[in-house]
Symmetry: C2
Subunit: 451 residues, 2 copies
């Protein structure tokens, strides 16, 4: 049995929805369908989720909402009309959307969560009808009824593990169940959403819950590529990868599949397949736990992610344990997280995401570190990129680091940090952001030489 998830672009208009119907009809094992909210139909279009955020904000500010609600309802109406659905379907959706401001919400954050969630919710209601009209026995299944209970964090919820047992009760469903992605309910039965793009997470949760053999994630790319196609022209597709490879690549910016969605898949050991709604016969990318035997290339993927900074601290005879503890304490007081902390003999660097900082926080942070550590030197450097080279085939092979650093040196890419040693399947380099694209291309050409 398979769980299938369709992204926003796969459900953006009637033509796309037709493709999705075909995909479901072509394989009877596809029993659970998770849908996103309708996405962009063309460049410059607005996603329904973004319209709903506008709607929520206008409601909170008591501004007129007719134009926005009109746009939202039109998106569903376009599809309902194309599939000749009874007028009652779109009427129900319309009333639900229009009555959103009349519901009770504990505060603005719950209101925002509920408004946003209705993009997926209405799309699932509609798509269940579309499937019915297309001859598929299908029913809408609300996350509430599915038993999907989440933590009480309105716009950044996490699954409660007890949910899996309840979801399993639906495993033998005799009809196709259409479930909206992106949200669940807390124990007070209030809607809470996952982080943005969270339909992937719902799909993974349902797949784990019903013990699916496979979780198919349909989107608008043929596969996950070994490098960003906007940086490297026509990179090779990765047809097989492991969960941990995906995790490492996702960290450095591979955003095809939501990072957090990997966790339920890993926990349930569910094979994830990323496929293209527009080319469903393409192999796509399969992600699973087994180590690949004899991968064709030692490296699977190369990624870079901008937006890091490093706080360099030097202090003679530093006691690393006590210095680290003091640094962690200062970071914790400001609710700042760090990514890496490479250490030398008398110095260490705290690598952080710089979007956590601004000039004020930076000044405060440095001042408090000076007080806590009395360092001989401290300074912050901005605009680093982290460059990741990832591959199961790297484990236990010598020479990969040498190849990578040689390729970078030939392009005059200066290494401000090299971090290898925790994971055996990746190497991490800190470089200047401005060098990131050159670096990715140099590494791609090195590790995929004949392509």
């Amino acid at each position: 049995m398979k769980v299938v998830k369709f992204g926003g672009s796969s459900l953006a208009n009637a033509a796309q929805v037709s493709k999705v119907v075909s995909i479901i009809k072509s394989d009877q094992a596809r029993r659970f369908v998770i849908v996103s909210a309708p996405g962009k139909r063309f460049d410059g279009d607005i996603k329904v989720t973004d319209l709903l955020i506008q709607y929520a904000n206008a409601t909170l500010k008591q501004q007129p909402t007719e134009t926005i609600t009109g746009q939202i309802i039109a998106r569903y109406d376009e599809i309902a009309t194309a599939f000749n659905l009874p007028a009652s379907v779109i009427e129900g959706i319309k009333q639900t959307i229009l009555s959103l401001p009349d519901q009770e919400y504990e505060d603005e954050t719950y209101l925002m969560a509920a408004f946003k969630a209705h993009g997926e919710k209405m799309n699932a209601v509609l798509f269940a009808q579309v499937l019915q009209a297309s001859g598929v026995r299908a029913k809408y299944l609300d996350p509430h009824d599915a038993g999907l209970v989440v933590t009480d964090s309105p716009n950044d919820a996490e699954i409660e593990p007890s949910s899996y047992q309840r979801i399993y009760a639906w495993a033998d469903s005799s009809v196709v169940r259409v479930i909206p992605g992106f949200f669940g309910y807390n124990t007070q039965e209030q809607i809470c959403t996952f982080s943005r793009g969270g339909s992937d997470i719902t799909g993974a949760i349902i797949a784990r819950g019903v013990h699916a053999s496979r979780y198919e994630n349909f989107t608008d790319v043929d596969a996950i590529y070994a490098a960003n196609p906007q940086v490297v022209s026509h990179p090779i597709a990765i047809h097989n990868m492991t969960f941990r490879e995906m995790r490492e690549l996702a960290y450095a910016g591979f955003s095809v599949f939501h990072d957090e969605a990997l966790i339920p898949a890993i926990q349930g050991d569910i094979q994830v397949v990323v496929k293209n709604t527009n080319h469903p016969s393409q192999r796509g990318t399969s992600i699973m736990s087994h180590k690949r035997v004899n991968p064709a290339y030692p490296v699977s993927g190369i990624a870079s992610s901008p937006g890091f900074c490093g706080i360099y601290i030097r202090k003679y005879m530093l006691d690393k344990k006590s210095v680290s503890q003091k640094i962690l304490k200062v970071l914790a007081e400001h609710d700042l997280s760090y990514e890496h902390m490479p250490s030398g003999i008398d110095d260490l660097t705290v690598i952080m995401r710089q979007d956590q900082l601004n000039a004020d926080i930076e000044e405060t942070l440095i001042r408090e570190l000076v007080i806590a550590l009395r360092p001989d030197e401290i300074h912050i450097t901005h605009d680093y990129a982290l460059l990741m080279v990832v591959g199961e085939g790297m484990a236990n092979r010598t020479g990969i680091m040498s190849k990578a650093t040689d390729a970078l040196a030939r392009q005059n890419v200066k290494l401000v940090m090299v971090n290898q040693g925790a994971s055996e399947i990746s190497m991490m380099f800190g470089i200047k952001q401005a060098h990131a694209d050159v670096a990715v291309r140099a590494l791609y050409d090195t590790f995929f030489p004949d392509l």
Copy 2:
């Protein structure tokens, strides 16, 4: 004005002591002489400090001590006789040594400290007489009278910063002052020693205290070499290096100059010169704070140090801040220190010195880390060596990492860790201990190609 320190081998017998007298007479700026205890005269000989430790242990166990005290006194007598010193000198030393068990000690650790310190103390008393007999106006200066006050840690003391002011009062001394190395007195006037080899530390403290222009450290090697001469045959001498280069190399096993002795030198910005008592006209190695301009080689030295282990921890979606805090807490509870903690996306490795561990501690540590972290995977790997490539010339140059990793790959040295990013003047590699010598030779041949 110069402070001069002579190591144990420079004062092991009358022939060596004669060389030291010549060195002092050859430069009137040498006003403060710090002496170690007599060292080995030949392979298999016993250092006086080790005899004193035997003496202390025998005293504590109430065993006979005549043979040991006889050996100790004979070492000083040999020198006193060669220099025709009056009988009263050796008689005074003899009485002091024999009466050591009759003094009062707070506990066994203070007894041990006091016994050990007398190797240096008697040698300084003797050497002041030797200088007098050789026509040099010289006087013994006890650390107590010099104002050298240390923390109350009998066998691992640290200097109290207030000492420097008191020591400065001696700066204008009209005679050469001979000071025993290795120990000071706590505020209760009890003898406490520095860590073993601590005469270097006394020398640096005196040099800082009297504002010396130079601290000459005489030992038995012509210079500090770019690699261990037992691993690389005839390595190049490093004639100029910076304090921070020395610190990094000392960390990885360059043991010519005591690591802790660098701190007072750095604080006082005192040039340190390592020279050979047997070839005093050789340039030796000068260590100072200035960055060298245009060093001949990008790399100054290559070192490796065995005896490290790594605890690998993998946990999906680990929150680094909280995981690190938990690890540091567990380490602190067992008074264990760590050296480095390279981190990947879902994993990190704690690199530690393995002499802190045994099977029991290891088991406890792993068990407590499992409880604290609930990791997906945890295991410990032993017998790593840390390999350091150090050089001021590395800063801001690309390609050094590439050269190094290429050299290691050609010798099939697998890199279990690469750590660069804290210090700009060093790269650190974790490798298997068994590969250490091959790795050092490969790097030496790469960075010093024409030698």
